[in-house]
């Protein structure tokens, strides 16, 4: 059946470079001697450690618990001894070190015994399932690392569940390989999420440059539907155009709905989950396995044999590079994530974390160094490709001129940092970096303003309290002496106001 698809504005066609790494099956990467687990592998508050240095831990054991609603626990990804809890370099754009739990592996990879009283997920109430998803430390594995439990409890009922297997960034193939090798896990997980979210229909979206993945899913879907013929589930191939895998863009393509500016998918009745995340949810609920590993694409012309590895979280990237680099590798540039939305690895001691979907290693020939940025010539090429229909060049002028309020008024915060604008800019202006900087500054300013506001109200309250005390004292003094009627009434009135406030 041909389904109606919509389209999103802008976007660019990019070469895929997928065939580099999608020919080989996924293999497990050897467990390294030292595992470095950052406490903040997710969006939100860092987790709080539950173990102490010197303690022995088992694989799958909870070693840090969520510190807030938007947070996620961390589990030991192999057995061994905790040797440090300290700041280490992490794979983050900012390059700022973060607190990590370091485990020295004992080489046994001994697992925590499975929890016997976990029931069959099909018979578990939704609320409990969400709890188990949260306890398993599952976050969005597509790169956003937002805690899945929060996403799966929308504030408003939804009718559509979208499983995102689009993977539109060049080079990355971890979702492709997952869909090919474990389509049942994806679909069984999706079926359960359909139940859990109460959505009416489920669409698994795959970009049409991945026919094998779509084929595998179709076959597995036939199996699922044989047992469960009433479920409204379908695999949908969407046209290959970057960033078709962006959440808001994909929702638009599949449903024609437009997530409001600054809003979330549930506001248009949709929950959207990445395929890797669904498989992780499947493993957590059906196999009792918390999130301790992920599939990572290791690719680029600096890699001897590009492919996908199942890596334990916490594997230091340096160890990976030592094993995979080409013999003659020199002057390599390592990217975390794809070439459009990824970032240059600030330090190769950083570990693979929940959001690390790809290590892109490129030899850097001297003559293709990024050219000096020229002035903006106002050509409007960026306007044509922006999928959010922003005016990237104006955002850039405002950001450059420090007119951050104007940039914000022009919906700076709706920019998804897809990089389409910078990609087509003939002046080679690193536009996205300006937006990231501007957003960061604005958030900081907001934080400062909130703090100042808090301090101000505290101070006001304190002032008011002091005034009141003074007034009370004066009143007392007066009542001891001869009370002057009008002044006493005034003080009483003031007190009354205070009480009312």
């Amino acid at each position: 059946m041909k389904r109606r698809l919509w389209s999103f504005p802008g976007g660019v066609r990019l070469p895929g470079f997928k065939e580099l790494s999608n020919r080989e099956a996924i293999v497990p990467f050897p467990i390294p001697r030292f595992i470095v687990l950052p406490l903040a592998q997710h969006a939100g508050q860092p987790a709080e450690p539950l173990v102490a240095v010197g303690e022995r831990v088992l694989c799958g054991q909870l070693i840090a618990r969520p510190a807030a609603l938007v947070s996620a626990p961390v589990h030991a990804s192999t057995s061994g001894t905790v040797v440090a809890i300290e700041e280490r370099p992490v794979a983050h754009r900012s390059g700022i070190p973060q607190r990590c739990i370091v485990i020295e592996s004992d080489g046994l990879d001994e697992w925590l015994p499975p929890n016997a009283d976990e029931q069959d997920p099909w018979r578990t109430p939704a609320k409990q399932l969400v709890e188990r998803i949260r306890d398993a430390g599952i976050v969005g594995l597509g790169g956003a690392v937002f805690p899945s439990a929060v996403k799966l409890t929308p504030a408003k009922p939804v009718d559509t569940l979208i499983i995102n297997g689009v993977e539109c960034e060049p080079y990355i193939t971890c979702d492709d390989l997952l869909m090919r090798s474990r389509p049942e896990a994806v679909l069984r997980g999706a079926r359960l999420l359909l139940e859990l979210t109460g959505a009416r229909r489920c669409r698994v979206a795959v970009e049409d440059n991945k026919p094998e993945a779509a084929g595998a899913l179709e076959q597995a879907l036939a199996q699922v539907l044989r047992d469960d013929w009433a479920a409204d589930m379908a695999v949908v191939q969407v046209p290959t155009r970057f960033p078709a895998g962006g959440e808001k863009q994909l929702i638009r393509v599949l449903t024609g709905r437009e997530v409001p500016s600054g809003g979330l998918p549930f506001q248009v009745g949709v929950v959207c989950v990445n395929v890797g995340t669904v498989a992780a949810i499947h493993d957590a609920l059906f196999e009792g396995r918390p999130l301790i590993s992920r599939i990572v694409t290791v690719t680029g012309d600096g890699v001897a044999a590009p492919r996908n590895y199942e890596m334990r979280l916490g594997t230091p990237i340096r160890e990976v590079l030592e094993q995979v680099l080409r013999e003659d590798a020199q002057d390599m540039r390592v990217h975390i994530g794809g070439p459009m939305m990824g970032f240059a690895l600030p330090d190769d001691r950083a570990p693979v974390a929940k959001g690390t979907n790809c290590l892109l290693v490129r030899a850097q020939p001297a003559e293709t160094r990024p050219a000096e940025a020229m002035p903006c010539i106002r050509c409007g090429a960026c306007v044509e490709v922006c999928p959010v229909r922003l005016m990237p060049q104006q955002l850039y002028w405002h950001a450059r001129a420090g007119e951050l309020d104007k940039a914000q008024k022009q919906h700076l915060f709706d920019c998804i940092e897809c990089g389409c604008c910078a990609h087509v800019c003939p002046s080679r202006i690193p536009l996205v970096q300006y937006y990231q900087f501007a957003k960061h500054e604005l958030r900081e300013a907001q934080r400062r303003a909130r703090k100042a506001e808090l301090a101000r109200t505290r101070n006001e309250q304190r002032q008011a309290r002091l005034e009141r005390q003074k007034a009370e004292k004066a009143a007392k003094r007066r009542s001891r002496g001869k009370p002057k009627r009008d002044e006493g009434a005034e003080a009483a009135e003031a007190n009354g106001d205070e009480a009312a406030a």
Partner: protein
């Protein structure tokens, strides 16, 4: 970990679409080089039909523009080489050179280049900052200051008994000397648009227009061949996606619509649309001048309005104004409205605005 391979990692962010891992979109230099290439057929036909003067005049303009550009970059303390390399000066110079009449004395193009590069471009802040189209600003200043020099256009060489050679052309341009016994009037002639405005369709021009075979008929004097060659280059730019269709279509559409309406209202007095499209600089304006990225509107709807307004204004100036061709003034005038146009035609940000269809 001790026997790590000698791998050096580059620091600094490079993602966000500017990654070297992807083949990159053309740079400013590449864009400008393509524009220059697209001008070549037109310039070739122009020179072939109208003689050495075309090349001499273009050469002077280009040399002067580059000299002024280098000097200004020096003075403003900017890196000279990357900006000279970006070829935008070359495009400006060529467009200015094409706007000026080929046999004008040497100081006319030099003056034009001065106003274009020094005043209109650099005094406004340089590449990307200027609000006036530099080539048109330069031309307009010279036109207003020296109208007489700018009204002498060469006659097509095919109509001359003894067309000027290269040396004779150089002598004329630099020294103002013509070969013995020759008068300037013998090698110049009024352009089609000139004759239209002085004589109307009833005069010689009208007669010539209706008497000649098809291509000669709609614009006359070989200009249409030059314009066809420019059209070819322009279409190539469209095909290469260097320019978008909005401005050329809107500009030519606006001009044709006006000309068509007036022509229908009074066939005896107003020339047909084809004459207007191919008789002056409209083609050049549509594909090369009005599409200058820096000074044109940037939003798709803005571009349509911008182009249509220029087209309509060109017609207005040609027919009712004081100058035979209105391209420069139309481009400059409408250019003034670009900031407003961009502001009012800003696309609706995704996720704002009401329900979708």
């Amino acid at each position: 970990m001790s026997d790590a391979k000698p791998v050096r990692f580059m620091s600094g962010g490079s993602a966000g679409g500017t990654s070297p891992a992807l083949p990159s979109a053309p740079t400013v230099t590449r864009v400008m080089a393509t524009v220059v290439l697209a001008l070549v057929p037109g310039i070739g036909v122009y020179a072939w039909l109208f003689g050495w003067g075309v090349l001499v005049s273009l050469g002077i303009t280009v040399a002067a523009a580059y000299a002024f550009e280098a000097a200004m970059l020096r003075i403003r303390g900017r890196p000279v080489w990357p900006f000279l390399k970006d070829l935008s000066v070359l495009v400006t110079a060529l467009l200015l050179g094409l706007a000026l009449p080929p046999l004008a004395p040497w100081w006319i193009p030099v003056l034009g280049a001065f106003f274009a590069v020094v005043v209109a471009k650099h005094l406004y802040g340089g590449l990307g900052q200027n609000s006036f189209n530099p080539a048109m600003a330069g031309y307009a200043v010279v036109l207003v200051s020296f109208p007489l020099h700018l009204s002498r256009w060469p006659a097509p060489v095919t109509l001359l008994d003894a067309p000027l050679g290269l040396l004779e052309t150089l002598r004329l341009t630099f020294l103002g000397q013509l070969p013995g016994g020759m008068a300037l009037d013998a090698i110049t002639s009024a352009t089609v648009l000139d004759r239209l405005r002085t004589e109307g369709l009833a005069g010689d021009a009208g007669a010539a227009l209706s008497a000649l075979p098809f291509l000669e008929a709609f614009a006359g004097h070989g200009v249409e061949w030059v314009n066809l060659a420019f059209l070819l280059g322009g279409l190539w730019l469209l095909y290469r996606r260097i320019i978008s269709w909005h401005i050329p279509v809107a500009l030519l559409g606006g001009l044709a619509l006006m000309a068509g309406a007036f022509h229908l209202a009074d066939t005896g007095q107003y020339a047909p649309p084809l004459t207007h499209l191919f008789g002056g600089a409209a083609i050049l304006a549509a594909f090369f001048i009005a599409t200058d990225p820096v000074t044109a509107a940037a939003t798709p709807r803005g571009k349509l309005i911008y182009g249509a307004a220029i087209g309509a204004l060109i017609y207005g100036i040609r027919v009712f104004g004081g100058y035979p061709d209105g391209v420069a003034f139309a481009v400059l005038l409408v250019g003034l409205t670009v900031p407003l146009l961009d502001q009012y035609t800003r696309p609706r940000t995704f996720g704002t605005g009401g329900r979708l269809r």
